[in-house]
Point group: none
Chain length 207, copies 4
DNA sequence: GATGAATGAGTTTTCATTCAT
DNA sequence: GATGAATGAAAACTCATTCAT
């Protein structure tokens, strides 16, 4: 929104840029950074290579722009999810639900996301790496603070360090998303967040 | 064992093969498949390129041999860990401890491991992929059966599907390993498995 | 002809393609397929290697394009030669003359021609092979039909199978061209076709 | 003959050398000089590469020895053929018959022979070339002298230069051998030499 | 003499990037 | 801004040849 106020030229520019990013996302997510050529991206976006270089300094730059854009969108959605309620348990439930929704709506972005946050980010030269990881950690700390305040309010028991709880819930959700990604039929992502959350909420061992 | 009985020539051959694999592991784990050249591997192993090709048909073949060898070693260690005791809780504790130990002893193998089981395995052409994933899943099912028998024996409460519990504990351990990998000082892998396990064992929410 | 109407870009492209083919012809004909490298061809054509690969998928592809182009040109000229007159003897004379002319004008193409029709075409992988041989045989059958109609009209005596006569005259002409190729001074290709033809036309043995 | 007198060691050496040459002949004739590796030859001969190098300085050397040996054998047979009779016509008939027989008995040698006398001898670096060509030319001159003496004795008409007649008969025979080589069923090499010779002996055109 | 592991120069091919139009 | 031909460095891979055992 607000784009209407830009001069026509600028609007077109931005649209072309976006078309290139879209083509790149589809290709990178399918084949990985090294198995996609700039010509391929240009062809898919229906531009000449030279044009792609008008928008992005080089291949890495294009990749970074892409990943940053996706990460931005993604973390914004998640942050909103945990801010949409006052109740901590509800925040967590929201987080599980929204992460599932965002992923389902952007399947091709997931592979990039996993490639960049978990393992194998040696795909590309450093730099991107640390930027994304920092943003990711920032979100984890925000998630940790939800647990912290939940513990203070006695909604949660103090069974572990809040940051560890954040890491735990995040890795648990990722694991379920992974299952779903590999075999959507055999492992559908649960509609009810509690299917996942119970694993943490209810104790496994009687005491 | 038994290698002593091989003729000298053969023993040397195997040693040289191993030297090449070692060099390749170090490089792949540091930079990723596509950012390592065969010449680089040869140089690090102190052989000529041609020699590397005497042992491995091509770059992919070398990579596969490497990953398979590592995965084999890794899964064998983990399988032993959960078979070393009769008590289910003890099996799980063992698993957490051993996975930490194996990783600590083979840091450079971890990146490969994560690259191949989680995300971004589009680095390389298929085949390896499915082989490793299958072995991984096989282990997960074995872990699930530990939970299953634990539930039957009332050592565990039936809070979730056993396979999901296996996935959960595995992802939780991975998450801690990841933290440690990124910042060993800030996030040491806990000596006491219960630091991790309590997150699952004790319920977060009072009921 | 007609090329004038092509857009400039396209005309340039075709010219560059031709320059590469010319360089390749000179080199292949001098040294043979395996003793010429793509870099060598590029250098001779005054382009970078990459450019050569823009025009031809790979080395074999370039070679095929070259040989096919030459064979096309060559067989067209010969076919015209035997169709330029109604008299069968004159057709054969024409054929001998034109084959000599075409060869004299395209010395470097001859070696390729001999390499591909006679012996040693195992230089390169199959396919080209059969294509050229078929075209060659087609021409021989056309030549045979000249003898056949000549025999029917009693211009020739029925001393042998017409196809054998075609093979005979063709091999005879090749033999003279070979002599000339090896020692142009000692064995000039005769201006008068009858120097060659008399060997077939006049009987060697009195009956 | 005479080999029995050599010491055992020497006899073995020669036998091994011959086994290597045999393996090389089979391979070169099937695939051509550049598509056969020294390892391939060694494997086929059931020796190690090093052993092959004990007998032949390098690949070219091996090839030369092979071709020279074959050419020697071949030209000896042909020379004997034209010396086995006093009558010139009979000499020529003998030559046609024997060339057919020798080829039929050594099919794999033919391809090498054609590769080296006709076309495409740029397979390998010069030297061999000229040696073989000289021997070949020497034979042609001997054949020419048969025609010359035949003409003097009025067995042949003086329709062309005797050397040209030699070249003509040789190329004609080669052409028939080629037809046979490509399609033995469709084009059997004639039992009766006169099927070929009539093309030269009887005049095609009435005078 | 025989072996075969090791060598490394040389070849084909790809692809990110530039730049004249 | 857009184009796409041209570039050339760099990578994978081959194979004739050597030499220690």
């Amino acid at each position: 929104m607000g784009n209407q106020e830009l001069p026509r030229r600028e609007r077109e520019r931005l649209r072309h840029r976006q078309e290139i990013l879209d083509a790149a996302l589809a290709l990178f997510s399918e084949k990985g950074f090294h198995n996609v050529s700039m010509h391929e991206i240009a062809r898919k976006a229906e531009f000449a290579v030279g044009t792609v270089y008008k928008f992005f300094e080089n291949k890495e730059d294009l990749y970074k722009a892409l990943v940053l854009e996706q990460a931005e969108k993604f973390h914004r959605a998640l942050t909103e999810a945990i801010e949409g309620s006052v109740d901590e348990i509800e925040k967590i439930r929201n987080y599980v639900r929204v992460k599932g929704e965002v992923f389902a709506a952007n399947v091709s972005m997931i592979r990039l996301y996993f490639a960049e946050t978990r393992g194998a980010s040696f795909n590309i030269k450093a730099g991107l790496d640390s930027h994304i990881r920092k943003r990711y950690e920032k979100f984890l700390r925000r998630l940790a603070s939800v647990f912290e305040s939940g513990i203070r309010k006695r909604r949660f028991k103090r069974i572990a360090d809040p940051y560890h709880l954040a890491v735990a819930i995040d890795s648990l959700v990722n694991a379920f998303l992974f299952l779903w990604l590999e075999a959507p039929d055999r492992h559908p992502y649960p509609d009810d967040p509690d299917v996942i959350l119970n694993i943490l909420f209810k104790g496994l061992v009687d005491t």
